[in-house]
């Protein structure tokens, strides 16, 4: 399939890229990993007149802890996350997520920032970032905006990003001792989107009391879903079979799945319940309690 024609622009700096976005407005799209955009162009689901390739902008690929945050650069690839010793040792929930995205070739190109900016509820990182309470750093003509992930996803393929903004960084609060997280996804085969996925991150205090919890759901609604009621039900409680089962039921109630090729809505709701149960149990285990 031959994608529709477009003009190709390759800025060397972020301000140059933003200037192109301002100049060409809604006709322009950022080309980062391109692993969602290019297939969409082939299917004529996207027809940008201008592609702004940001891949040659230096300094946008990094994974580091700084000022209390894990900072991930806007061009950091899934494969970089998969191979990072920092991610392996301290952020297993991000490793869980990155390694189930598509396949090795796609992960060599695809970026975390693109996975979020695309606004696809079927993408895996949004749930994990919701669980971790991440912030998205957007750079535009007026400078930098730090957007909380909770309000980032507006509706299907629509985020808080303005058309002249670029995601330059993702910030995740460094988890305190006693933290643990996990992401679980059911997929029909390697490379498929999730039938459903659940991310859970907990901070467990003395006596197994849950001090903070984040739960995000993949592909069971028009946007990635933060399971607030499930989260609230666990705060201040001891994590045990009963409380985890209650939270899993609440998360299933908060899901808004629709029936499709991957299964009927009720099946997916049941899946959210089971995956929440398992994700919370694994998160708790990883918290070292």
């Amino acid at each position: 399939m031959i994608p529709p024609a477009f003009e190709y622009l390759r800025p060397q700096t972020i301000p140059e890229a933003i200037a192109f976005l301002q100049q060409y407005g809604d006709e322009a799209k950022i080309l980062s990993g391109g692993q969602s955009l290019i297939p969409m162009m082939k299917f004529r689901l996207a027809r940008p007149g201008y592609l702004i390739d940001i891949n040659r902008i230096p300094g946008l690929s990094y994974i580091k802890e700084e000022d209390g945050y894990l900072k991930i650069g806007g061009l950091t690839r899934e494969a970089d996350l998969e191979n990072s010793s920092l991610i392996h040792s301290k952020y297993p929930i991000i490793l869980d997520t990155a390694r189930v995205i598509a396949d090795p070739q796609v992960r060599n190109m695809a970026t975390l920032a693109g996975n979020l900016a695309h606004g696809d509820p079927a993408n895996d990182h949004p749930a994990t970032m919701l669980a971790l309470g991440a912030r998205v750093v957007a750079v535009g003509p007026q400078g930098e905006r730090v957007l909380p992930i909770e309000s980032f996803f507006v509706t299907l393929f629509t985020t808080e990003l303005q058309h002249d903004e670029i995601v330059s960084e993702i910030r995740i609060p460094v988890p305190p001792p006693g933290s643990g997280g996990a992401y679980l996804k059911l997929e029909r085969k390697v490379g498929d989107f999730a039938t459903a996925g659940v991310a859970a991150q907990v901070i467990v205090g003395s006596g197994g009391i849950c001090q903070q919890v984040g739960i995000g759901l993949t592909n069971v609604g028009a946007t990635p879903i933060k399971a607030r009621k499930a989260e609230e039900s666990l705060c201040g409680k001891k994590l045990d079979e009963t409380t985890i089962a209650q939270a899993a039921q609440l998360a299933a109630d908060e899901a808004e799945p629709s029936s499709d090729l991957r299964g009927p809505a009720e099946y997916k709701r049941g899946l959210v319940k089971e995956l929440t149960l398992r994700a919370l149990a694994r998160a708790y285990e990883r918290a070292g309690k």
Binding site: M1, K42, D103, Q105
Partner: protein, 168 residues
């Protein structure tokens, strides 16, 4: 029609250049400009991996990348595996272990396996299956492909690195 752009790509150690439309996919550049048709167009939707090539040392699906994006980069395709008339141990392994039937997926399988062995000289069966998880084969059931990669890993361990092409 969009403005054509000059693209220069080093393919299997040889510089290739052409004025191309930005929408030209990398796989079509590879097949059309140097005429290297070993890299296949399979599903054309980022699933099957038949179009897998090594771009600056990393596997990519060349149907999901524009040629202009690879400007200034180095590519290894299946044609670059054989050196001095001698099959690469992986190619030999696919032959010896019957790692192909129709052969359509083989170029992509070889490049993914090549990337895997470059990073991990002695992969476990699970690591091999993980390494080729972006490549679909509809004939073999994968068992003989896994054996072929194991054959190559063993052969390369025996023979040292002398047999490996010194590119990409």
């Amino acid at each position: 029609m969009a403005k054509k752009q000059l693209v220069q790509i080093k393919v299997n150690g040889r510089n290739r250049e052409a004025m191309v439309e930005p929408r030209l996919l990398l796989v079509h550049f590879i097949r059309g400009i140097p005429g290297l048709t070993g890299t296949h167009v399979g599903c054309d939707t980022t699933h099957c991996g038949a179009c897998t090539v090594l771009l600056d040392g990393k596997t990519v699906k060349s149907c999901t990348m524009f040629a202009v994006q690879a400007d200034g980069c180095e590519l290894l395709t299946v044609e670059g595996l054989m050196q001095n008339g001698k099959l690469h141990p992986l190619q030999e392994g696919f032959k010896e272990e019957h790692g192909l039937q129709c052969g359509f997926c083989t170029p992509g399988m070889l490049i993914s396996s090549y990337a895997l062995l470059s990073k991990n000289e002695n992969p476990s069966e699970e690591e091999i299956r993980w390494g080729i998880s972006g490549n679909l084969c509809r004939c073999t059931g994968y068992q003989n492909i896994v054996k072929a990669v194991q054959y190559a890993a063993g052969k390369m361990e025996q023979g040292g690195k002398d047999d490996l092409p010194n590119i990409a």
